[in-house]
């Protein structure tokens, strides 16, 4: 479990993290979202004890990351952004080093390294120098070192950054498997990934948390309209005019010769009414569906909305 109270980090005259308060419960996966420079990585570094806060406090498994730093660090597996590793070390000797330095069972170092090599699919490269590894393998080694002592808390900064779809999928599967048994904080620029993996999302902007919610609640809270997509066989213009005339339709537009997208009021499902009108007028109706707002749209709205509010 992680508790962040009124966390602030100032570099010179620049406030990078501004009074952030968050709680991440056991077994929960919290996603940190935000544009570049929002303070996501700094928050993660502070949680991982890499950087002390200017004010406020962070507790990991009830250990203060400043006053009980070593104890707190024992509970954390951290994967920094860009996965820094020792290029001249071999995979196995680096993992042995990580296992030894993170402590725990003395005789278990070999076992832990062997398990990590198997779990993260590193058998083929176990005796290879890290400098010669592909991006995907480097990321796996980074994750393996983070989890080598089986920590209850994982802090993963952009865990799938720069990976091809296959490797990214593997890492996502891994995080999914770990969720429930571990407390995980991760950041990503891939919003679909965050919505798949995270039970809650904290949106940061200019060092401040502007929203914390589950992805579903976040989407539903910021969705003012309902979007309905209608596919017709012919007479698109006639169908468009008809749809615009229906009470509750805010706007309608067509993107090609068959598809009409209508923004409707949120409190009513207008699909039956729209379908009935189109069918009655003899226009062939090929399909009608309601679309949820994507997390990306909510994110853009939140970030832009904050700017508008401040202005």
């Amino acid at each position: 479990m992680i508790t962040i109270d009124d966390l602030t980090k100032v570099y010179g005259s620049r406030t990078v993290v501004d009074r952030v308060s968050l709680t991440v419960n056991h077994g929960e996966v919290l996603g940190l979202l935000g544009p570049n420079g929002a303070g996501k990585s700094t928050v993660m570094r502070i949680i991982a004890s890499a950087v002390p806060p200017t004010s406020g406090r962070v507790r990991v498994m009830s250990c203060d990351t400043v006053t009980e730093s070593i104890k707190a660090r024992r509970c954390i597996g951290y994967l920094p952004e860009h996965t820094p590793l020792y290029p001249d070390m071999k995979v196995e000797s680096f993992l042995s080093f990580a296992a030894r330095i993170k402590g725990g069972r003395k005789n278990g170092v070999k076992d832990r390294v062997r398990n990590a090599v198997i779990e993260f699919g590193l058998e083929e490269v176990r005796n290879r120098s890290i400098a010669t590894l592909s991006r995907g393998y480097r990321q796996r080694v980074g994750l393996a070192q983070a989890m080598i002592n089986d920590p209850p808390v994982l802090v993963l900064d952009e865990p799938t950054q720069g990976l091809d779809p296959e490797h990214a999928y593997e890492i996502k599967q891994l995080v999914k498997d770990l969720s429930g048994s571990r407390t995980i904080v991760l950041s990503s620029h891939v919003l679909s990934e965050v919505s798949q993996l995270c039970s809650r999302v904290a949106v940061l902007k200019k060092g401040r948390v502007i929203s914390v919610d589950s992805t579903e609640e976040l989407v539903s809270r910021h969705q003012n309209h309902t979007r309905i997509t209608i596919r017709v066989g012919e007479r698109l213009d006639q169908a468009l005019k008809m749809i615009e005339a229906v009470e509750g339709v805010i706007s309608a537009s067509s993107s090609n010769s068959q598809v009409i997208k209508a923004e409707t009021v949120r409190d009513r499902d207008l699909r039956p009414v729209l379908a009935e009108r189109i069918v009655k007028s003899g226009i062939p109706l090929l399909g009608i569906a309601r679309e949820e707002m994507s997390l990306e749209e909510v994110f853009m709205k939140l970030v832009a909305g904050e700017d508008a509010t401040r202005a």
Partner: protein, 253 residues
């Protein structure tokens, strides 16, 4: 601390750098040794020609010049050992990783320092075969040999501490080595400036701070507490300053 120490040793020995450094050090020390022996031989020949009474002093003619030359080699060798200790971590971004492992900065520092120190002592030990070679032909003063090696080890440890400090300042290993060599040369030459700058209190302080001044007694076969404490305090001072630099880096992120 042990895991950091072992990791550093693995990194030193996993590249040809260590072997190249050891070969160059021993090779150049061998040239110095040959030169000292050749000079002693010439001296002995001349003495026999002129039928001079007594023999030549192996300590004065071979050992002292050899160890004096080796001390200059140590000044160049140790910065090459220390330059990577923190600069490499900074350049690779692994400092951040290291900061998050459950080990204190002091233990990391000591692990790194001791690994560098072990590598230095190991390379220095390779030069031991030169005195062994000398022992085949003559009987060297083992007291001078032991004291000289003690002096070189202590001075090497001091230079290493300065090197670790320089390495913590930058992510560029070449700059770290250059700063160390520059710093050592300044402390080496302080004794030379002492007389020209001032003959009073300042001169005495400069003389006491000179790395070379403290070394000469070891080469005469004398191990004094004052010299040992000087080198130890010098090393502790730079290690303590390095800790402050690391703390600064941690706060700055």
């Amino acid at each position: 601390m042990r895991s950091i120490y072992l990791k550093e040793l693995v990194q030193y020995f996993s590249s040809p750098f260590f072997f190249v450094l050891a070969c160059v050090f021993v090779g150049v020390a061998g040239v110095f040794f040959y030169n000292a022996v050749a000079y002693a031989n010439l001296l002995a020949t001349q003495m026999s020609q002129y039928q001079a009474p007594g023999g030549i002093s192996v300590s004065a003619v071979i050992l002292r010049p050899l160890f004096m030359d080796m001390s200059l080699l140590v000044i160049l060798l140790v910065p090459l050992i220390s330059m990577r200790l923190y600069a490499e971590e900074k350049a690779a971004g692994t400092m951040e990783l290291l900061f998050t492992y459950p080990v204190s900065d002091l233990k990391v520092l000591l692990g790194k320092y001791l690994a560098g120190f072990s590598v230095f002592v190991l390379i220095l030990a390779f030069s031991g075969f030169l005195t062994a070679l000398l022992a085949v032909a003559t009987t060297p003063d083992w007291g001078v040999v032991l004291a000289s090696y003690t002096g070189l080890i202590l001075m090497g440890g001091t230079v290493l501490a300065l090197g670790v400090f320089a390495s913590s300042l930058t992510g560029n290993q070449t700059i770290a080595a250059a700063v160390t060599i520059g710093g050592v040369l300044v402390f080496w030459a302080l004794g030379w400036f002492a007389d020209t700058v001032s003959s009073g209190y300042l001169g005495a302080v400069l003389r006491e701070l000179s790395l070379a001044g403290h070394l000469s007694r070891f080469f005469n076969g004398l191990i004094t507490l004052k010299d040992v404490v000087f080198y130890l305090l010098f090393a502790v001072f730079f290690l303590a300053v390095t800790l402050r630099v690391l703390d600064f880096h941690r706060c700055r992120g």
